[in-house]
Every structure is written in C-alpha cells, then in structure tokens.
C-alpha cells in the first residue's frame, strides 16, 4: 500500500479503509495481532486483513461483514482525523486542475492543516514532483510529517514548521504552483511569488469570506499576478430512490359504464389506496453544504 501506488494485497503496516456501509467508513492501521471494533463485531488484523486482497469482504465476529478498501486521497479525506477544518474533494479536484498539477510539479502549500489536500497533491505530483508544505502549529506539523511517513509518501514532501506570512515557504524560485489556505493570505502573496519559478506558475487561495478574497485579489494585482479569477464550486448529491405517487380517485366514471365489459374490469373504487405509480428518481439531501470557500486563482507571469 501507498497513497501513490496501488497494491493488491493488504500488508502489515498498511492503512486500510474499512467500508461499513453508506457514507460510513473508518481508516485502520493494519498491525499484526491488533484488533478493530466495528458495529458488526471485531476484525482481527492477522487473520482477517493481512494477506487478504483489497476490496474483499471480511466477516466480523458478530456475523456482519465489511469491505476493506485500498486507501486513496479521496477515501482518506472522508475518514481522516480532523485537526483543523479540511478541504473536501470537490474543492480539491478544482484546485488540482486549475493549478495545472501533474507528475513532476513542484508545489508549495500552507497551512498543512490535517493534510487532506496534501495527500491529493502528493498523489498527483508523484513520482517526480515535490510538495513543500508549511504549518505554523508545531504539533500539527509534526503529526502531518508522521502521517506522510506512515503513508509512504514521506520522500515526496517537506514539512516546515514556520509562519508563512513572516518567513515564507523556505524555498525560492522552485514552485510551479502555490496554494494558500490561511486566515490572511494577502500577507503571504509576496512569499508565494518568491517561492515560484521565474518562468511563472499558478497560485490559488482558499478563503471562506469575501472580504478576504477582496484583499487577496488586491495583493495579487499589486504583485503583478495576472488572470486573477474567483470561483465557487458546490457539490450536489442526488439520492437515487423509488418513489410511488398515489393516483387520485375521481369516483365512478359514467362514460366507462356505457360499456358493461369495461365496467367489470375496472377495479372497484373501494380500494383507492392501491392505485399508485412507482418511479425511479433522485432527491436532494435535506441539507447540503451551501458554502465552503471562494477559490481565487491567478497566474504569475515570467519575471
């Protein structure tokens, strides 16, 4: 297992995603002799996981069963332990494309936070790219570095524990792309410029509030960034279900009665509840996230 390479079988030390049911998953660190409790019973790692194929069904002690999935950045995003608010897959997908990330890209990121976006970046830039990520909170920085090592992507990332607004990214003239998810991104714009290649590149800033966007756009324009554009992307989930719509009872139809045969065939009006039409459709969830953040993109021209 690695977050940047598929493997077929579960091994000691892997992170596996246990799929318990609709929207219910948990990450498990696979360890010889360890056990994991689920609502379907106990999973014994040595017998139930190690050596099994990813994607197979594992029967738990209470007779219930779960599927064990290979980790991906997307599954990690919905199961990871939150240390901060995180970015979700919809925004991550947009950021990845609009920053033009691909294998070999050198990327700067701040803050590292819980590492949700970091894993997605690492997946995309492997095997030849590199991520320089900056987190000013020491404990979070250490935890992230530890996780990257555990997920076997440590060789692709450098975690720096410093304040990006004061000290920058710790690199100069190397980045193809910069991503900012900090409270005052406008204070880091000039550091972003310094970190980027002289040939130019792309930058993105994520902010929940429009005032932050306003100040960031001004700073970007002041620093000579071009193609400044702000977008918002929202995910709509459609729940597939069968609905049945009852037909109203209009009472006996005199025109139908003119034909005695037809009258016999018509179901008696005494059971109007049975007349229903079933159809497949989708419904929106009762509540959906209506706002995550504004994404501001810009291009750094050659300097």
């Amino acid at each position: 297992m690695s977050f940047v390479e598929y493997s077929d079988f579960i091994q000691d030390g892997d992170v596996a995603i246990v799929y318990l049911g609709h929207e219910s998953m948990m990450p498990v660190k696979v360890q010889q002799g360890a056990q994991t409790q689920t609502r379907y019973g106990v999973i014994r790692h040595s017998t139930d996981l190690i050596g099994q194929r990813y994607g197979s069904k594992v029967t738990c002690s209470k007779g219930g069963w779960v599927h064990v999935l290979h980790p991906t950045p997307e599954l990690w995003t919905v199961t990871l332990p939150h240390r901060t608010q995180i970015l979700y897959t919809t925004d991550i997908a947009t950021i990845t494309m609009m920053l033009e990330l691909k294998p070999g890209s050198i990327v700067c990121e701040s803050g590292t936070g819980s590492g949700s976006l970091s894993h997605a970046i690492l997946r995309t830039i492997a095997p030849t790219g590199h991520l320089h990520t900056v987190e000013f909170h020491q404990q979070r920085a250490e935890k992230a570095a530890e996780e990257f090592k555990e997920h076997r992507v440590g060789h692709l990332v450098t975690v720096r524990n410093q304040d990006v607004c004061k000290d920058g990214f710790g690199v100069t003239g190397v980045a193809d792309a910069v991503f900012l998810d900090i409270p005052s991104p406008w204070e880091a714009v000039r550091h972003a410029k310094t970190a980027m290649k002289k040939q130019g590149g792309r930058v993105c800033s994520f902010s929940p509030c429009i005032e932050q966007v306003q100040r960031t756009c001004e700073a970007l324009a002041d620093q000579g960034f071009e193609e400044i554009s702000t977008v918002e992307v929202l995910l709509r989930v459609h729940d597939v279900r069968t609905v049945s719509l009852p037909l109203p009872d209009f009472g006996p139809d005199p025109s139908a009665l003119t034909q005695p045969d037809a009258a016999e065939k018509t179901p008696p009006t005494s059971a109007p509840n049975q007349a229903c039409i079933a159809m497949k459709t989708t419904t929106p969830p009762r509540e959906i996230p209506g706002h995550t953040g504004y994404l501001t993109f810009a291009t750094k021209p050659r300097t």
């Binding site: 940047v4 390479e5 598929y6 077929d8 799929y19 049911g21 609709h22 998953m25 379907y40 194929r53 990813y54 994607g55 197979s56 069904k57 599927h67 064990v68 999935l69 991906t72 997307e74 897959t89 919809t90 997908a93 947009t94 990845t96 494309m97 609009m98 033009e100 691909k102 294998p103 070999g104 890209s105 997946r123 995309t124 492997a126 095997p127 790219g129 040939q199 130019g200 429009i210 966007v213 306003q214 001004e218 977008v231 918002e232 992307v233 929202l234 709509r236 989930v237 459609h238 729940d239 597939v240 279900r241 609905v243 719509l245 009852p246 497949k280 989708t282 419904t283 291009t299 050659r302």
Partner: protein, 471 residues
Amino acid sequence: MADNGDDDSQYRIKECDYVVLKRGDIFKAVQIQPKKKVIFEKQWFFLDNAVGHLYSTTFEIVSGGILQPRKLKEAESSTDAKEAGTDNRNIVDDGKSQKLTRDDIETLKEQGLKGQEIIQQLIENSSTFRDKTEYAQDKYIKKKKKKYENTVTILKPSCRILAMMYHGREPGKICHLRYDTLAQMLTLANIHAGSKVLVFETCAGLVLGSVMERMGGYGSVIQMYPGGGPVRAGVESFGFPTHFHDMLHEFPICHVNALLAGTLDTTAKDPSADSKQSNLAAEDDQNQPEAEQQGGPEEQSMETSSGADGGHDQEKEEKEKRKEAKAQGKKVKLEEKRKKLAAAAALLEGRNADGLVIASRFHSCPVLMGLLKFLSPSRPFVVYSQYKETLIECYTKLKEHGGTVDLRLTDTWLRHYQVLPNRTHPLLLMSGGGGYLLSGTTVAMDRSKPAGAQRAEEPAPKRLKLTDTEG
C-alpha cells in the same frame, strides 16, 4: 521536469508545437506551422514570428498578419482624464454622444491604428464620457478594449486551458462536459502516475488527454473506442512528448464480448478477422475528415486548397503509383493494427485495471456494466453523462448486481465572481449545467451466493434508505 529551473528552452515556442491562442476568455488550439494563415476572432495572422519567444507572451497583430511581441506596460497607459461624474441624472441617451461615425472608425482601423489609439479617439469624441462615473468609465474602456484590441497571447496547452476552450467553443463535441466536472472525474477516478486506466470517451479526446496529462507518461491508458477508430484530435492539442504515446493503447469496444468469452484471436490472421479489420480501416479513412474538423474548420479548408494544384498529365500515372503505395501501406497498417490489438488485449486480459473513466454519448449503463469487468477490486470508477436518467439506471443496476460500494450520483455548480473594489458580486451569467457523474469503488464479487442473497445481507440502515419512499 527535472530541469534546473534556469533552462528556458522548454518554455520557448518551437515550430510544430501545439499551442493555444488566447484573447480575453476566448481560446483556440492551433499548431505552429511555417507560413500558415491562422484565423482567430475575425483576424488573420501568421505564427512564424512567435517561434523562439517564451510561452505566455502577448503579441500585437500588425499589418500583413505579422505578430509583434507587445511591449510591457504599454497597454497600461490608462486615460489621464481623471474627471468623472457621480451619477447619471444628467446623462440622456440621444444616440449622439459619440461624434465619430462608423465610417470614421473604419478609416482609423484601415490607417493601421493600434487598438489603444482607437479607444483613445472614441473617448475623446464621446461627449458623455466625462460625466460618467468612474466605474462606468472603467466599464466603457473595458468594453471597447475587448472590441478593438488586436492582441493575442500564446499559451502552452494544458488540461485546464483545453477543457475551458472546448467548453467555450464546441460544447457539443464534448457532450457538454464542463471543466469543473472534468476536474471531478480525474480526482474521483484517482488518476495518477503508474496506474492502468481504461477510458471510454466520445469527447474528441479531451478526456483521454486529460487522463494522460495526469499520468505524466507513467503507466498505461487503454482507450476503448467505438466505431472504426479512436478519435484523438483533443489529445494532439496537448502536444505531449513522444514517449507519452508509448503508454497509450487502444481496443475496439466491438471486440469486448469476444475478449471476455476468450474467443478473441489476436495471433493468427484468419480471413474473417481480416475482412473485419479492413472494414475498420475503411471506416477509419472515413473518420479522418471528422477528426480533422475537430482541430478547426479553417485548417481543413487550408489543406484542401493546397492539395488541389498539380499537373493534369501526370495525374493518372501518379494516381496508379499512389494506389499501389496505398495498398502496401494499408497492409503495413493492418499488421500494425493487429499488433496493437494484441497488446491492448493482453493488458485487458488480466482484468486488473486500476481505474475506469467513461464520458460518452452512448447509453451509460451497458458501457459501464461491460467495462467494469476489467477492473481489479477496490478501484474507483467514474461515469459522466449529460443526462441524469442514464446514471439513475446505472445506479439501480449496480445495486442489483453487486460488486461496487460507495456509489454517488452528483453534479457540481460553478459560480464565477467579479472581484473589484466596491463592485464585488457573482457574475450575472452562469453555466446552466455541466453534466452528471456517477462514481464508486469496485469490490470483490461474492461468487458463492446469488445476488439476491447478497442483497439481503447488506447492512440494514442502508437498505432501508434505498427503498425509502416519499409522500
């Protein structure tokens, strides 16, 4: 990508490069060819002069269709008239505020005046400009700039730029797949270097190219194609280095059943397969014009006109010769095709692909059910459709069939913002829809029990939700 950061050679425009022209929000993909006339936004020019310049350079089009790199900051010389009104209570629309007539403007253009100079003239001859508010003046200049500026920026192609270009120019050719939806697909399918990905698309090759870009030449992509041959006009526009094409394989979807049944013969050249293949080749020829069209109608017309000249006498002889060469070429082509088919079949036979991406005008359900069989367990797949209904059917079928988890039917909503001091708001116009996605993950099929028994075993809360009815 292992450059030292100082080497500019890979950032310079070279002959035969595939590039994207940009003006405002309009893009167009072309190839740099010597002495080739390019028409973009009602203007024609030659790209010869662009060779050797850095990507992202903005050029000015001067007389004779020659490109000249724009001097920096020249365009920034904003109007020095800082006079402005506070409201529009005294501005009357009498249609006489602009003193220049249409003919006057045409003459200015013919004189070869730069866009900036024409705009200056328009401002000077507008009686109401000074009374407009500062914001209205800004808007006026912006609007005129869009109309009269004769500049073009040359960009290096990327998935971002090409996806925006196709969506803006030819949405019909890519099944109205909006760029943010394409972005979701690449992420949901966990496209990355080193994997083995199946792609079935009728999006002119845009989706295929995007997948290839994300894989950076590592791993393999098998394009499952319908009809006579794979359409890849969009792939060419990416201008991938040649080694990227080593990762690209193709397999005709009409042989999928034979492959699954183990009856596909890729070693011997039995006559039936041969005739089938020559049929394919013939179709392939027919397909060519269509593929070229995707690159742009102007290019096509250029090619037909250049091919028309030539002596009448020698024509017959040459025709004969060409026929022979063509027959020979066809044989070689057929053999190549057979080899390619065998290679793709070998990749598919293991049924251990790492990802599946579908974006086509075909009915999604049979395509998905057919191709899902080639995936390893615990691998993501994503299906795009312009219509939600076909994906509802896929969802239902997959639930009945088993073998997948974490199914989600989604779409995304994209909103652009104008961010300007005191004028920040969402853009007035937004895209009505960018299509729908069905995504999920494969799991091992439980072969010991029939599908019905498996269903009954599913966790209770999920089952309840599924059959839940409203009203």
